[in-house]
Amino acid sequence: MHKEEAQTELGAVRIYKDVIASIVSLAVAEIEGVKRIGGDFRSGILELIGKKSFNAIRVEFDKNNEVRVQIPLIVKYNFNVVEVANKVQENVRSAIERMTNLFVKNIDVNVQAIEA
């Protein structure tokens, strides 16, 4: 539940990692060719105990307030994987920068599977 804090004249604005993950998730879903967001070991375990909404997207902030995102992805069959991954990276970058004013350093996409 780590958060990014920005100080304004009226007070502090904190953006939680989960908020960034939600923005990423919505931006990913907009891209044609994306079947769904993949999972990891932790999300698999949490899904087993019924926590289905757990996001496997990893968000990290570095010392310079830059964001690093890791997205596990399942791509639809018959789509160019690299093109889809590039579109995802571009859309995620623009969505985060537009909605949070944070600078995105890296967006790593891990294509886990291809499904019909």
Binding site: V81, V82, A85, N106, D108, V109, V111, A113
Partner: protein, 201 residues
């Protein structure tokens, strides 16, 4: 690095053999519980031997952790293909490529089962295809076609430029099932064209 892996394997084999030998000796009643008890009390008696035992335990834990990390890290690295883009890194799991190749069998009715194994090496991407064929398939033609479509599909979907080496292993040839035979027979019997016997005057 390879030497370290080799030493690790030898080390673990040695430990397991040692445990096995102790168990066998214990089973034959050569080693008695009293002997083990005496040995443990002897070791515990002296401070020096306790320090040595403790340090050996710590060393064993460190060796195990580093070896596991090395193997798992290597395994993970080998199971993905990575591309760098301006926005970050794109990694594609080799299992995703295997999923893609499996779907190719639907294009070729002669293939009953297709089991791909994809390995990424410095030379390029090696695809091992284990195939089960239906009888009456022309093997040279079919394998050449399978190699072609696998290569073109991988290049089209993944956009990779590395050389792709496709090896095919035909594991089994199974007879045509009744369903397939009927299908083939219906295909052979061309449907009659209505009024084909008549000509225009």
């Amino acid at each position: 690095m390879r030497l370290f892996v080799y030493l690790g394997i030898v080390f673990y084999a040695f430990i397991l053999i040692l445990i096995g030998l102790v168990l066998i000796i214990f089973a034959f009643n050569i080693l008695k519980p009293q002997d083990i008890s005496n040995l443990i009390s002897f070791v515990q008696y002296s401070t020096h031997s306790r320090i040595i035992i403790g340090l050996s335990g710590l060393l064993l834990i460190l060796v195990s952790i580093s070896f596991a990390q090395l193997i798992l890290g290597r395994f993970q690295r080998e199971r993905t293909i990575a591309f760098s883009t301006s926005s970050g890194e794109v990694t594609i799991a080799l299992s995703a490529i295997e999923d893609l190749i499996k779907r190719l069998s639907s294009y070729l009715p002669e293939i009953r089962e297709l089991r791909p194994d994809v390995i990424a090496t410095k030379k390029g991407i090696i695809v091992d295809l284990r195939v089960i064929l239906r009888s009456e398939a022309n093997i040279p033609e079919l394998t050449a076609h399978l190699q072609d479509i696998t290569k073109s599909k991988m290049q089209e979907v993944l956009g990779i430029e590395e050389p792709i080496i496709i090896k095919i292993h035909i594991a089994k040839i199974v007879p045509l099932e009744d369903r397939d035979k009927k299908k083939k027979e219906t295909e052979k019997q061309e449907p009659p064209i209505p009024f084909s016997g008549y000509t225009r005057l």
